[in-house]
Amino acid sequence: MTDALHDRVRRMRERALIRSWEYRQRNLSKGVWHRLRRVLVDAAQAWQVDDPDADRLERGGCVPLAVGLELVPPKRVFFATEEQLATLSSRRRVPLRLGAVLLQAGNLVLIAHDSRLLPRSLRKDVSNGV
């Protein structure tokens, strides 16, 4: 009579084991998706730009986030200000979801909800001009 409940317990325990494994992997390559998602949480907007515009951001002092460079192929992901974004003519807004559009973008420019909430290392990037 309780077979269904025992089956659910078994499946929950299996998933708990997988989550433990994911936790142990969080700082390794398997944790890259978690780290990318974490960066996206701080973004109010995401914009796709072409390579010349991404180059301009870099020349202006914006540093691509490490997590994007861990992906294969690498992706340049920046936090920037709206003023910086406005100078990038190729900008095209993409939905903030881990979907095909965002994942296929080679260069992403993120606008933070509040740059004060970003980790200290990223706050510096946002304040740099292009």
Partner: protein, 236 residues
């Protein structure tokens, strides 16, 4: 019949069980009930979860015959199904806060009312019972249930729905609820704190679901809560 009426009728039908100390409504209906005048506008779910403390299991079992309009499911005896269309399904779930098996997922075996005991329900703390149209409804304080939903194992649609319940709870939370959430969070082991933060991250990027709250307009709120929980964490 409105969803609110359906829910209140169901809670009326299980009132004998709800009168048993420690029993609480513990699922997606809680944020609906916590809205002003239990408006029930946040999300739609066609069942009611009742959390039963394992030490009250015997007393609850004795009350089952006093419920009306529901019958035990043959396939899953912890589920009670409505006899008519004017009630919702009721799920009995186990909550172990003080036994030897706290933090464990297990089945409390019983021929009449077996319970699947969910480990994170131990985070629930009783809130002030609600009084809606003369019906006394015991509910947990939002913080514990919110954290429980963030810690839930996320697989497929059910996992998404649990996260959206967490969002709905966040939307009815007051500042002191968030203080309590942070306090509960700080008491978790590192792996579960990571799971809770992962839950918030997943919620922030979730697509809207029909008849559920949309995370999109609340993403800044979620980012702020995440930053608050992360403060003091060694990893960021």
């Amino acid at each position: 019949m409105s969803f609110r009426t359906l829910l209140l009728r169901t809670l009326q039908a299980v009132q004998p069980v709800l009168l048993e100390p420690g029993v609480m409504v513990a699922g997606s209906e809680v944020p609906n009930l916590l809205e002003p005048d239990a408006r029930c506008s946040l999300l739609i779910s066609r069942d009611v979860d009742l959390a039963v403390p394992v030490e009250r299991h015997g007393a609850v079992k004795a009350r089952l015959s006093e419920m009306s309009g529901l019958r035990r499911s043959e396939e899953e005896p912890s589920v009670w199904l409505p006899v008519g269309a004017d009630l919702m399904e009721v799920n009995f779930i186990g909550m172990d806060t003080r036994g030897d098996r706290v933090g464990e997922t297990y089945v409390l075996e019983d021929s009449e009312l077996p319970l699947l005991v969910f480990p994170h329900l131990s985070l629930l703390r009783p809130g002030t019972p609600l009084n809606v149209e003369g019906l006394v409804i015991p509910v947990p304080r939002p913080a514990g249930l919110l954290l429980e939903k963030l810690l839930t194992d996320r697989s497929g649609e059910k996992g998404d729905r649990d996260l959206l319940v967490a969002l709905a709870l966040l939307l009815v939370s007051r500042p002191r609820d968030l203080d309590e959430l942070e306090e509960l969070y700080r008491g978790l082991p590192p792996e579960q704190r990571y799971d809770a933060r992962s839950g918030l991250i997943a919620l922030s990027l979730l697509e809207p679901h029909v008849q559920m709250p949309d995370p999109t307009p609340h993403r800044a709120l979620l980012a702020g809560l995440l930053a608050r929980l992360e403060s003091g964490e060694p990893e960021r």
